[in-house]
């Protein structure tokens, strides 16, 4: 890959990203000098033991938090140079999320939860678009149910529908099967990879499930805040 084509297809870049937090025992380093590039359409797994800094890295990549040093470029925008509203704008345009604990709005039903990012992005046909995608995730008959009336797998389907609804450039998934049993988890991942392929979205998946990670194009391994390997997945 030549330099030119890399910069053309580059979606996400971490440049010497470090994160430190202050604690009663003094400054604590959570991430240290992490650098990598991710191009459009790639699916990348971030793996590592608990406390390795996976979720912190995800937060920095999505602009939910800012690095202490270094910077993140998301879809051409240097997040460190933007204020909170600027970063929110970048997320509205190009980011989708799937969380381990689903994070549905309890007062909204399934369809309304999917409509939320569309409405935030000012889409006029939010309801129609949301209906289409909620059918795609197989919840055609459950759209009017509230989160408390849905099973864990169904909640995560709603969350996935919500993530893909805006056709984001990058989809961040944080342990999406962490709260699900093995069978449901496998179905959910199948759904996610399928949607990912059909919409050519870039996927960044945080997990400690190696079999899941191996279904991605690339695996980034973190340990104690450092990037210890960056390899093509076996699959």
């Amino acid at each position: 890959m030549g330099n030119e084509s890399v910069s053309k297809d580059l979606v996400l870049e971490a440049i010497q990203v470090s994160k430190e937090v202050s604690s009663p025992e003094g400054s604590l380093t959570i991430l240290s000098d992490v650098s990598f590039r991710i191009v459009a359409g790639e699916s990348v797994a971030v793996v590592g033991p608990s406390g390795a800094g996976k979720s912190t890295l995800l937060a920095l990549l999505a602009g939910l938090d800012l690095p202490t040093r270094g910077h993140v470029v998301l879809n051409g925008a240097n997040l460190s140079e933007l204020d909170e509203d600027g970063r929110a704008g970048v997320r509205a345009d190009s980011v989708g999320f799937v969380f381990q604990s689903f994070h549905l709005v309890p007062s909204l039903n399934a369809l309304e939860n999917v409509m939320l990012p569309l409405e935030l992005a000012g889409k006029s046909d939010a309801r129609t678009a949301a209906r289409v995608i909620i059918e795609q995730v197989g919840l055609k008959d459950r759209w009017s149910h509230y989160p408390s009336q849905l099973s864990g797998g169904e909640k995560q389907r709603v969350a996935i529908a919500r993530a893909f609804a805006t056709e984001p450039a990058v989809l961040f998934a944080d342990e999406p099967t962490g709260n699900l049993d093995a069978g449901t988890g496998a179905n959910i991942m199948e759904l996610m990879f399928n949607l990912n392929r059909s919409s050519r979205t870039t996927l960044v998946l945080v997990t400690h499930d190696i079999s899941l990670a191996e279904r991605c194009d690339r695996i980034l391994s973190l340990d104690a805040g450092r990037l210890v390997s960056d390899s093509e997945a076996a699959a």
Binding site: L58, A88, P147, K155
Partner: protein, 830 residues
């Protein structure tokens, strides 16, 4: 625009979810309570004011030494006001060979415009209310006058050149207290007869009055319109200047009502504040999520603000309906109390209450919303990521500003406002500090108690700041409730006692020095306690510190009037028990030095007098000069003879003196008054029963009103407690599920939660009892000028109420949390 559309679209969903119902209820209750309180204050305030106006027999009374020009009554009619005219003058009345001095009151059709005239059909007989005025050719005469001239109903009295038939015994006219110290017994006659009486002519001492009454706004407008056109000789009297006693009572009634209104407002404020905090807190996760999905800060705050306002409007609608219903109900229940002929206040209380609720909502919810704006989007990944707490200055500044603005609007009395705000702030601060101390202390007890208590006490200690905030909310709510209970009972009781059942109901004036002993013996013979006789000397003040009273500068017109009018002086060795020494010293009982003088407090202020000033009086051709030795406060409610100016013994020796006295005469002893005035024709008897009745009526109305309003305040107080418990309900739900999942029995969890509430209740109860005692003392002494006695029962009630109320409202609020199936709760993480 996007935010508006989004807020509107999602508002319905928020409502459906039931998440916002607590705030909705708090706002609704606030509006309902404030509407009802506003309605009652308006109604009863007007009723009390009107009763006080009875003393004028009008809303406005224009007195003049000249006939009142017809143009003025025409002007008043132009404002849609009712008018009547009176002419008053002293004249000798004859019945056969007997004669007596009478105060003639010629009245025109319509008199009195406020209050009613009462007459009896026999001397000192039972009285009845009467409409209209005496027919032409007839008079209604005071019983004392009839007794003095030996006449009865049906007899003819000669008044000037007229012979008029007595058709009734006059027992009461509303304006009889005006200038009563110089009053001879009254005679009411028709103004149409006056021109034929020959009594009014050059040099006659006639006092003319135009009585005006009607709609409050029109009276005010008329009053303002005539201010510039008034000749020197005309003096206007309105309610504020009318009878000192009736006004005192009316004024206190208003203060009681505004105090109650203020308390409801404060309670509503606390309830709204607690639920607004919860409203903001519960939205934190949603805001973090929306931000992670790309919503800007401006967007989330706009949506939250719009939804808060929508919620406020909805609360206002619900509350207004409740308020209107309460108004209707109250009008029916208190039909005798609230002057049904007054114009309905209509939408005014509702509008005021709604505005107040919105101001409260904004003042208390804005800081929380501003904090919401800074919620880090990181919270979607790390649930412990919290927005930085809002600046304390902002929180306290905004909420204080909201409360102060509203309080000023409803109290309108800066002094009361400062006392209240100061008191509430000190109590809230003390509650918070002691709350934190208690929370720390409780942690030490937990090792020595059973598992339920350990869990409960550990909770109190662990929640630290939140526990302290709850103690403040509970404590404030309780303080207000206790304070109102005190106001209702102790203060009202104290007020009633100032008008004890033995309060004198008759004044005797114009007793000659040589009659004093004989009159005393007369009363003793008739079984009436021999009253104290107080000397009275008519005088004019001539100079103050050597400057003529005419040329001197005065702080205000009342002071000028006081110094220039004919004054009633008295002397005494010992200060009257109804007086209180404020400055200087009272002279010794055996004092015989140079003349000293004691001045009543307000007169001293109005006329700009201070200790050491020298006053010179002109009495029957002689000069008396005295230095001011003391300044007194006079309790006019005592109905004892009292004077603005009192001199030391000996100062007025040899001056023309009469005596006055007051006593309690029972209804069945009235007939001896006939004998008294026959034996001592110069003595005038003034019946104060009617005025006493007026004051008592005002007190009774105010008491009833305070109690009715109290019910609403109580509801607001319970709402506070409920909101305080609700604010921690999510945490409790999760914890109890956890404990039960770990194998705790429901009983254990339940007792643990109750132990926590009990501990909070004890803390709040102690603090509220202390706070209410202090505030009540301040309110009683500073605002109502009533003595306050410490009431130990308050502490018992405070502690019991603290534990019971907190535990009961805690039980209802936390019941669901304790009973929920652990699996459901733990799976709820959405």
């Amino acid at each position: 625009m996007k935010a508006v559309a989004f807020a509107l679209r999602t508002f319905g969903r928020e409502l459906r979810s039931g998440e916002v119902l607590v705030l909705l209820a708090a706002v609704g209750l606030a509006v309902g309570a404030l509407t009802a309180v506003g309605f009652l204050t308006d109604r009863i305030g007007k009723a009390v004011a009107r009763q006080a106006n009875e003393v004028l027999a009008a809303d406005l009374r224009l007195r003049s030494q000249e006939p009142v020009p017809a143009a003025w009554s025409e002007l008043a009619a132009g404002y849609g006001l009712d008018t009547a005219e009176t002419m008053s003058f002293p004249s000798v009345v004859f019945a056969g060979d007997n004669s007596a001095l009478a105060s003639i009151n010629a009245i025109s059709e319509g008199y009195p415009l406020r209050g009613t005239v009462r007459v009896a059909d026999q001397l000192f007989g039972e009285q009845r209310e009467v409409e209209g005025i005496p027919e032409s050719g007839e008079v209604w005469a005071d019983g004392t006058l009839l007794a003095r001239v030996g006449a009865d109903i049906g007899d003819v009295l000669s008044v000037g050149e007229l012979d008029l038939r007595v058709s009734a015994v006059l027992t009461y006219r509303p304006d009889q207290s005006i200038g009563f110290a110089s009053l001879a017994p009254s005679l009411l006659m028709n103004a149409a007869d006056i021109s034929r009486s020959g009594l009014i002519g050059e040099g006659s001492r006639v006092s003319y009055a135009l009585l005006v009454a009607g709609d409050e706004g029109a009276v005010t407008a008329f009053n303002e319109a005539i201010q510039d056109k008034l000749p020197e000789s005309v003096r206007i009297r309105s309610q504020e200047e009318s009878s000192e006693r009736a006004y005192n009572a009316a004024d206190r009634a208003q203060r009681f009502l505004s105090l109650t209104a203020v308390m409801s407002l404060l309670l509503s404020a606390v309830a709204v504040a607690m639920s607004a905090r919860r409203f903001a807190h519960r939205r934190m996760d949603t805001v973090a999520l929306m931000k992670s999905l790309g919503a800007t800060q401006g967007f989330v705050i706009a949506v939250a603000l719009i939804q808060l306002m929508l919620l406020g409007v909805l609360g206002v609608v619900v509350g207004s309906i409740a308020g209107f219903a309460a108004e209707e109900l109250l009008s029916r229940i208190l039909v005798d109390l609230i002057a049904s002929d007054l114009p309905n206040p209509g939408l005014r209380p509702v509008v005021l209450a709604s505005g107040s609720a919105m101001v409260l909502l904004l003042g208390f919810a804005l800081p929380a919303l501003i904090q919401l704006r800074n919620t880090p989007p990181l919270r979607v990944l790390r649930h412990d990521a919290m927005p930085p707490p809002p600046s304390r200055l902002l929180v306290s500044g905004l909420s204080l500003a909201a409360v102060a603005a509203l309080l000023y609007g409803s109290v309108g009395d800066p002094r009361m406002l400062v006392i209240l705000i100061g008191g509430i702030m000190v109590i809230a601060g003390a509650l918070y500090l002691v709350g934190r101390g208690l929370v720390a202390l409780i942690g030490r007890f937990r090792s020595g108690v059973g598992v339920a208590w350990r869990y409960g006490l550990a909770n109190v200690a662990r929640r630290g700041r939140a526990s302290a905030v709850q103690v403040v909310a509970f404590g404030l709510g309780l303080t207000v409730l206790l304070l109102l209970t005190l106001v209702r009972t102790d203060l009202l009781e104290g007020w009633r006692q100032t008008l004890d059942a033995d309060a004198p109901n008759h004044f005797l004036i114009n007793i000659q020095p040589d009659e004093v002993n004989a009159v005393g013996a007369f009363f003793e013979k008739n079984g009436v306690k021999v009253p104290r006789f107080t000397p009275l000397v008519r005088a004019r003040m001539t100079t103050i510190n050597g400057t003529s009273v005419k040329d001197r500068e005065y702080p205000n017109d009342d002071g000028r009037w006081l110094a220039n009018r004919e004054a009633n002086l008295s002397w005494t060795a010992e200060m009257s028990p109804s007086n209180e020494l404020l400055q200087g010293e009272w002279w010794p009982a055996d004092y015989d030095g140079p003349p000293l003088v004691s001045i009543e407090e307000e007169s001293a202020i109005n006329a700009g007098l201070k200790i050491g000033d020298r006053l010179k009086f002109f009495v029957a051709g002689q000069q008396v000069e005295a230095g001011i030795a003391s300044i007194r406060k006079v309790n006019w409610d005592s109905f004892q003879p009292n004077f603005f100016i009192v001199l030391s013994p000996g100062a007025l020796d040899g001056m023309p003196t009469t005596y006055i006295s007051s006593m309690k005469i029972e209804d069945d002893q009235q007939s001896m008054l006939v004998d008294l005035v026959r034996s001592y024709p110069s003595i005038s008897v003034i019946d104060l029963g009617a005025i006493l009745e007026q004051v008592r009526g005002i007190i009774e109305k105010a008491s009833l009103a305070v109690q009715a309003v109290f019910v609403f305040t109580l509801a607001a107080g319970v709402a506070v407690l409920f909101a305080a418990v609700q604010s921690t309900i999510d945490e409790r739900r999760f914890e109890s599920a956890m404990l039960r999942a770990l194998g705790a029995r429901r009983r254990t969890v339940f007792f643990g939660v109750m132990a926590e509430f009990a501990a909070l209740g004890v803390a709040a109860g102690i603090l509220a009892s202390a706070g209410a005692s202090i505030l009540a003392a301040v309110v009683a002494v500073q605002l109502f000028q009533l003595p306050y006695e410490f009431n130990p029962l308050l502490w018992v009630i405070g502690l019991t109420a603290g534990v019971l109320l907190v535990c009961i409202s805690g039980f209802f609020a936390a019941r669901g949390a304790i009973n929920a199936a652990p699996a459901d709760v733990l799976r709820m993480a959405t």
